[in-house]
């Protein structure tokens, strides 16, 4: 009887030992999986953030009217950084004069946007827009203006700002 009890105790010790080792291995795997998921989640969030920022900037870029030029250009500058921001802050008066002289008005919307590449500091995003443009040359009749845009973005203090807008001809 005593031998049986000791045998049961030994079996319990072995079981607890095996379970403890399994829990330790599992704990390491959980920690690794947690880190990997955190990195993936951060990267997935970057896709969303850069697409949102690029969509907003492209929308501002294709909606500029001589009647609301200062506000429209300020909207572009708000989502921009670097040389692009400089252009839409320092050259505002010249651009506004040009828009008013030509009676230019553009309108448009984003059709599709996709990420070419993104890391924790930089991103390249393609944005396809549909829209129109009218000015003195078109005799104030809207002409189709469907664009293929490529935007470069940089992360600045937690926000994604556009440093370059390129029209892909």
């Amino acid at each position: 009887m005593r031998e049986a009890r000791e045998g049961l105790s030994l079996a319990l010790w072995v079981l607890v030992g095996v379970l403890a080792v399994a829990c330790a291995v599992g704990g390491i795997q959980v920690a690794q999986a947690h880190d990997a998921r955190a990195r993936e989640s951060a990267q997935h969030a970057r896709y969303d953030a850069t697409l949102d920022a690029a969509t907003a900037e492209a929308t501002a870029f294709v909606n500029v009217s001589h009647e609301t030029a200062e506000d429209d250009l300020a909207r572009i500058a708000a989502g921009a950084t670097g040389p692009l921001k400089d252009r839409y802050t320092e050259d505002v008066r010249r651009i506004v004069r040009s828009l008013r002289r030509d009676q230019t008005a553009t309108a448009g919307e984003v059709v599709w946007a996709g990420v070419v590449r993104v890391d924790d500091a930089n991103a390249t995003v393609l944005v396809a827009t549909d829209g129109t443009r009218e000015d003195r040359r078109t005799q104030d009749e809207p002409e189709d203006r469907d664009l293929r845009l490529r935007l470069r973005l940089v992360e600045v203090d937690g926000a994604w700002l556009t440093s370059e807008i390129q029209v892909v001809d």
Binding site: S9, A45, Y47, G114, L126, A128, V168
Partner: protein, 168 residues
């Protein structure tokens, strides 16, 4: 090593707790993959997304590069990279365009300018492809037509296949 009843109870309780902990660990490790939503358009790794987008761009080039010289062969070849449902739609469209290709001796050479991932899960990827299409008729100079194309790729038992193409 003691074989007392209290110790065996402690060991038993410990074993039950460890089994519970193992269950929690297994639940976490086997937990489902994130689903796409409005705030998570891409829920696969960069390498997967990029490789499927590259495949979409390559397939689109193959599908849109056609010639009156071997139109039927090219249509048949193109359908090998499509899902059966989309291939049926494509064959119908291609058949309706066949007379125009022959009459005008039309040839199209497509070239990818750039490509990007719009949405991606482990089952479906949408790629935005900027495509230049060089169209020539009756041996004339090619005219470049710039397109924006959304290619939908669906994972099937035969790999990633084109399941839809929208062009603007």
């Amino acid at each position: 090593m003691s074989g007392s009843v209290p110790l065996r109870r402690v060991l038993l309780v410990l074993a039950v707790l460890l089994v519970g902990l193992l269950g929690v660990e297994a639940w976490y490790l086997l937990g489902g993959t994130p689903q796409p939503g409005a705030d998570r358009p891409v829920v696969v790794g960069d390498l997967v997304a990029r490789s499927v987008v590259d495949a979409a761009a390559q397939d689109l080039t193959q599908i849109t590069s056609t010639s009156y010289r071997n139109y039927d062969d090219q249509v048949a070849e193109a359908t090998t990279v499509m899902t059966p449902e989309f291939a049926a739609t494509y064959r119908a469209t291609a058949a309706s365009l066949a007379p125009t290709f022959q009459e005008r001796q039309r040839e199209i050479a497509a070239e990818v300018v750039s490509s990007a991932v719009v949405r991606a899960t482990d089952r479906q990827v949408q790629a935005l492809v900027y495509l230049d299409s060089f169209v020539s008729e009756q041996g004339g100079e090619p005219v470049r037509l710039p397109y924006r194309t959304l290619v939908t790729m669906t994972k099937t038992g035969h790999g990633w296949l084109v399941s839809n193409i929208e062009t603007r």
